[in-house]
């Protein structure tokens, strides 16, 4: 069991996260589980989620975040994140750097460097930003691709 799945399961039971790092790991765990509802619950109405591979790539509010991720998950068979070293965190933010492997339903497999930032404002999650060089895999389309 990876730490992100632990965090994801813990969040599903309690609906609370203990730190920016726990929120970030929950997001990654939910992403690996292709669980857009969990992501939408985690982020809620006051949170900005930025993912370069979604359309639009800045999502705000429960329904937009759920819909945006679902569009991406519909094209994914499975996905897994590998953490470089550790999730770095302080009281207000957490940063993850690593790699993501995505197997799409059409059989294509991509492996890319990825970074994720989770930021808290007044102890509440306010932003999740995913960093990813999308250029090489989305030159021809603005649609959601993962």
């Amino acid at each position: 069991m990876t730490i992100q799945i632990d965090a994801y399961n813990a969040y599903k039971q309690s609906k609370v996260y203990s730190s920016p790092g726990a929120a970030l790991l929950t997001y990654i765990g939910a992403f690996e589980s292709l669980d857009e509802k969990c992501i939408a619950t985690l982020t809620g109405d006051g949170v900005l989620v930025e993912v370069p591979l979604l359309k639009p790539n800045r999502l705000f509010g429960y329904s937009e975040i759920e819909r945006g991720h679902k569009a991406a998950f519909d094209s994914i068979e499975n996905t897994s994140f590998c953490i470089d070293d550790e999730v770095a965190e302080n009281d207000d933010a957490a940063i993850f750097l690593g790699r993501v492997k995505v197997t799409r339903i059409n059989g294509n497999v991509d492996l890319h460097d990825v970074g994720i930032v989770a930021q808290l404002t007044d102890d509440k999650l306010s932003r999740i930003s995913v960093y990813f060089n999308s250029r090489n895999i989305r030159r021809w389309s603005d649609e959601s691709i993962l």
Partner: protein, 498 residues
């Protein structure tokens, strides 16, 4: 130095364009990884070389660190990098082309220096979202797929074929690759008009306003072709790969139809055709290593403006020491385009150890060296005595050529315009059509080429102006962003190399 301080120094060095200071922040075997790099940069010397190129590509660099978190071995950051990209001419609306992005980064430290710095960001917003749509009324080059794979974002049309011009990089990166490394250009659009038969050379001489009669097998020669009024059709490079065979590697006009029409209505013993020959240019000082790798025999002895038939990557081809860079380089003319992509891939493979970059023609360098390109329907409207290369016109030869009598008359009456260099005030926008040149409130000419000169760090141009305009005169130029001053100077702007 702790990692947070190291990153602050790193950001400051970027803002100061100080690639030496940037490299010195790293350990001797330090590693820099970033989303737009093909491979990590390893070691201080490589860091100095490559960070200089990136740093020189941008101006007005500003950085801002939003989040910094120290860890046991280093630190993680989130921040913003903002800069203008130099030399693009800006966007259509006049705004500068920018490289603005947010990033996450991690630093690992060793003995107070950066051992590894890794930046992740999305480079897609820097450049065009997608390649332009292609239409079947123009031809695709046989290397087209290679240009797509190399992220070509802007194509022009030339000789009814798509011409890859701009790839997703800052112009200085391509410029530096041309001056320091090796570049590969798809110039399949550079069509050949083949003249074959015992009168091939004589007929070539009749088409050309430079004496071509003494060309020998293995020679290449630049020349001008004119219409009967002396107006320049184009300025091809002519190759003589075999006895009784010449190729006019021509510009943006149908020379084959022109030559065929003339041949049909005359008694020259010559066949005119367009063979299936789609050239590549391999330009830059390291091109010699790439060519030696892929040619069946050593290419070192091939002198400037000479050519030979050989095998390149297993295909019969003419190789010439020519090109549109004004510097060191080669062109490969395969005898058939059937194996085009195999040839393309072999050149790329051979070029990998030398950091080969697929680029378009590097106009910034060409203009610096006074290398231009004239097309009858586009930027001509000038007679051969008004061209940058007017000194090559030979009116005293005994043989006749098309346009000779008209040019002699022009010379007798006095040439009314000439081509000059310009130092242009400020940054120049993209030249999308000729700009008017005025002096003393009247139109005196046109700017036909304008770029940022990286070597001179100023805007330069080439114009055709009234012959009364002399070296050192100040003229006015009307471009898309207003009226600016320009000082008349000589061409080339920088010395020609070999």
């Amino acid at each position: 130095m702790n990692p947070i301080e190291a990153f602050e120094e790193y950001c400051t060095a970027w803002a100061n364009h100080d690639h030496i200071a940037l490299a010195e922040l790293f350990t001797e075997d330090g590693v820099f990884e970033a989303s737009t790099l093909d491979a990590p940069i390893v070691g201080q010397e490589n860091l100095r070389k490559q960070l200089r190129i990136i740093s020189n590509s941008h101006s007005d660099i500003k950085t801002e660190t939003r989040i910094a978190i120290e860890t046991k071995t280093g630190a993680y950051f989130e921040g913003t990098y903002m800069a203008k990209i130099i030399g693009t001419g800006g966007r259509v609306d006049g705004a500068p082309t920018r490289a603005d992005f947010r990033y996450v980064a991690s630093i690992e430290m060793k003995d107070g220096k950066i051992q590894r710095l890794h930046e992740i960001y999305d480079s897609r917003p820097f450049y065009a979202d997608e390649r332009p749509r292609m239409f079947p009324m123009n031809r695709l080059s046989p290397y087209w797929q290679g240009t797509v794979d190399a992220n070509c974002t802007e194509y022009s049309v030339y000789n009814n074929m798509y011409f890859p011009m701009v790839y997703s990089r800052a112009p200085y990166e391509d410029y530096a690759a041309l001056l320091e490394g090796v570049t590969l250009w798809d110039v399949g659009l550079e069509r050949q008009t083949q003249l074959k038969g015992k009168d091939a050379l004589g007929f070539l001489d009749y088409l050309s306003c430079r004496d071509m009669s003494n060309m020998k097998v293995g020679d290449c020669r630049y020349t001008l072709l004119c219409d009967e009024e002396g107006i320049v059709l184009c300025d091809p490079v002519v190759l003589m790969p075999e006895e009784d065979t010449v190729w006019l590697s021509h510009g943006n006009i149908d020379v084959t139809l022109w030559a065929r029409g003339i041949a049909m209505s005359s008694n020259w013993d010559v066949q005119v055709s367009e063979p299936d020959v789609a050239p590549l240019q391999v330009q830059g000082p390291k091109s010699i290593h790439v060519m030696n790798e892929i040619c069946a025999e050593p290419i070192d002895e091939l002198k400037n403006y000479k050519c030979k038939i050989t095998e390149v990557a297993g295909q019969k081809a003419v190789v010439s020491r020519t090109g549109w860079s004004g510097g060191f380089g080669y062109e490969i003319y395969p005898y058939s385009s059937e194996g085009a992509m195999a040839l393309w891939n072999d050149v790329l493979d051979a070029g990998k150890p030398y950091g080969i970059k697929v680029t378009g023609p590097i106009v910034h360098r060409a203009v610096e060296r006074g290398v231009t390109d004239t097309g009858y329907y586009t930027n001509s409207g000038m007679n051969a005595l008004e061209e940058v290369t007017a000194s090559l016109v030979e009116l005293d030869v005994t043989s006749d050529f098309i346009g000779k009598s008209a040019l002699k008359q022009i010379q007798k009456d006095g040439v009314r315009r000439h081509s000059v260099g310009l130092f242009i005030e400020g940054e120049v926008p993209r030249l999308e059509w000729n700009w008017k040149v005025t002096g003393q409130n009247k139109a005196i000419g046109e700017v036909r080429w304008a770029v940022h000169s990286f070597e001179l760090n100023r805007s330069i141009g080439i114009a055709i102006v009234d012959v009364a305009i002399k070296l050192g005169d100040i003229v006015a130029i009307e471009h898309d962003r207003g009226v600016v001053k320009a000082e008349v100077t000589t061409i080339p702007f920088v010395g020609r190399g070999t």
